[in-house]
């Protein structure tokens, strides 16, 4: 357990990057990645919840009795999710509408509970923050990458900060399959395959 803060941080960016290496948190990964903006928004919201819950769980790790720990973790996570929900409703209302029920569903995102259980309940506050930031940023980047592939192929645009950038000329016929449900599964499956190929070298 003698890992440094930087190691805990960087492992979330590549070695344990959530939807690819740890196959967790798939539902939002598949559902919100129709636009780059939505992917990044979802990733940042999850990061906020991860950092908040990791800090609190890690601070309370000696107080929470192990028998009721899951219930306690979930309560902590749900509190942070409510905070994020209210903040997004107030400041980024259009994104809030686009993400819909997937914001309250961060509560049941296995990544958040998984980090609280596997990491924050055993490690100090500083290390937990590093871990949460690493995993959170890794998750955000992965969502953005998936969304980029899907949006570029499916709509021919990249949407960032409320602006759509058109990538291809007029002759481009959008491959709408990619932004629909089956495309999400197949796209993620193929990207996972590419990650496996890169990782095995």
């Amino acid at each position: 357990m003698a890992k440094s803060i930087t190691q805990e941080f960087t492992k979330g960016l590549w070695a344990e990057v959530p939807p690819f290496r740890l196959v967790l948190g798939l539902c939002p990964t598949l559902a919100v990645t129709t636009k780059v903006e939505n992917g990044i928004g979802m990733g940042l919201a999850t990061t906020f919840v991860l950092v908040g819950s990791n800090i609190l769980v890690s601070m309370l790790r000696n107080v929470i009795p192990s028998k009721v720990r899951i219930a306690c973790f979930i309560t902590i996570i749900a509190t942070f999710v409510t905070i994020v929900q209210l903040l997004m409703q107030a400041y980024t209302y259009s994104l809030y509408l686009q993400l819909g029920i997937f914001i309250p569903l961060i509560v049941v995102n296995c990544i958040v509970l998984g980090r609280a259980e596997a990491f924050a309940s055993k490690n100090s506050v500083i290390l937990s923050i590093a871990d949460a930031l690493g995993i959170g940023i890794g998750y955000t980047l992965s969502l953005a990458a998936i969304a980029m592939v899907r949006e570029a192929l499916g709509a021919g645009t990249i949407t960032l900060f409320g602006k759509s950038f058109v990538l291809f000329g007029h002759a481009f016929m959008p491959f709408t399959f990619m932004v629909q449900a089956p495309g999400a599964f197949i796209c993620l499956g193929l990207m996972l395959c590419i990650m496996n190929m890169l990782g095995s070298k």
């Binding site: 309560t75 569903l105 089956p182 197949i186 193929l190 996972l192 590419i194 496996n196």
Partner: protein, 190 residues
């Protein structure tokens, strides 16, 4: 008639796994073997119907009456978590046979977003009590249907030779995509 239409639309058209992307972690996690898939499907049907009804009551009576809707996320997850715990204890005491079948899947259901998601959808669609009941059951049945279909296909895939980088989850996701595509055919039904 209205209830039948609602059931068909929840099971086939808005299938919770393939069209709404909820509950994908257990979908991939428990579909390697038929037995576990059936166990998970049964457990989800059992819990989702109860959870749908309970969360509807919680939302309608205390939350809406006292303007506490911002507590929805917190209260729903607590209702679901305690319900799962309660169901587990109840089954262990009174129906041990069922418990040994569902046992290991029950704790996993707390973090199954299909349960929480379906409850939230029920509230969002402003269903009344009977609609909630029918919709919850149909969503769960749709989950079970997709999971069991998928497990069957996956067992066959494991017999073949899959290229190494594609193995396991990767080919699983592509297969799920194909199933989702075939469920697309139901779109115009209702």
């Amino acid at each position: 008639m209205e209830y039948i239409l609602l059931a068909i639309s929840c099971i086939l058209i808005n299938n919770i796994l393939l069209a709404q992307f909820l509950g994908n972690c257990p979908f991939l996690g428990t579909s390697k073997k038929m037995e576990t898939a059936v166990g998970m499907a049964m457990a989800v049907i059992f819990v989702l119907v109860l959870a749908g009804v309970f969360t509807w009551c919680v939302d309608t009576y205390p939350l809406k009456r006292f303007d506490l809707e911002f507590l929805r996320t917190l209260s729903f997850i607590l209702v679901i978590a305690s319900l799962v715990q309660f169901v587990e204890m109840f089954l262990k005491k009174s129906i041990p046979a069922l418990y040994s079948g569902l046992g290991i899947f029950l704790p996993l259901i707390t973090t199954n977003c299909a349960v929480m998601g379906a409850c939230l959808i029920n509230i969002k669609e402003e269903y009344d009590f009977m609609h909630t009941l029918v919709a919850s059951f149909s969503y769960a049945a749709g989950f079970g249907l997709a999971l069991i279909l998928f497990a069957g296909i996956r067992e066959r895939i494991n017999l073949g030779r899959v290229p190494k980088p594609l193995a396991d989850t990767s080919i699983g996701l592509v297969t799920a995509g194909m199933i989702a595509l075939s469920f697309f055919a139901f779109k115009g039904m209702v």
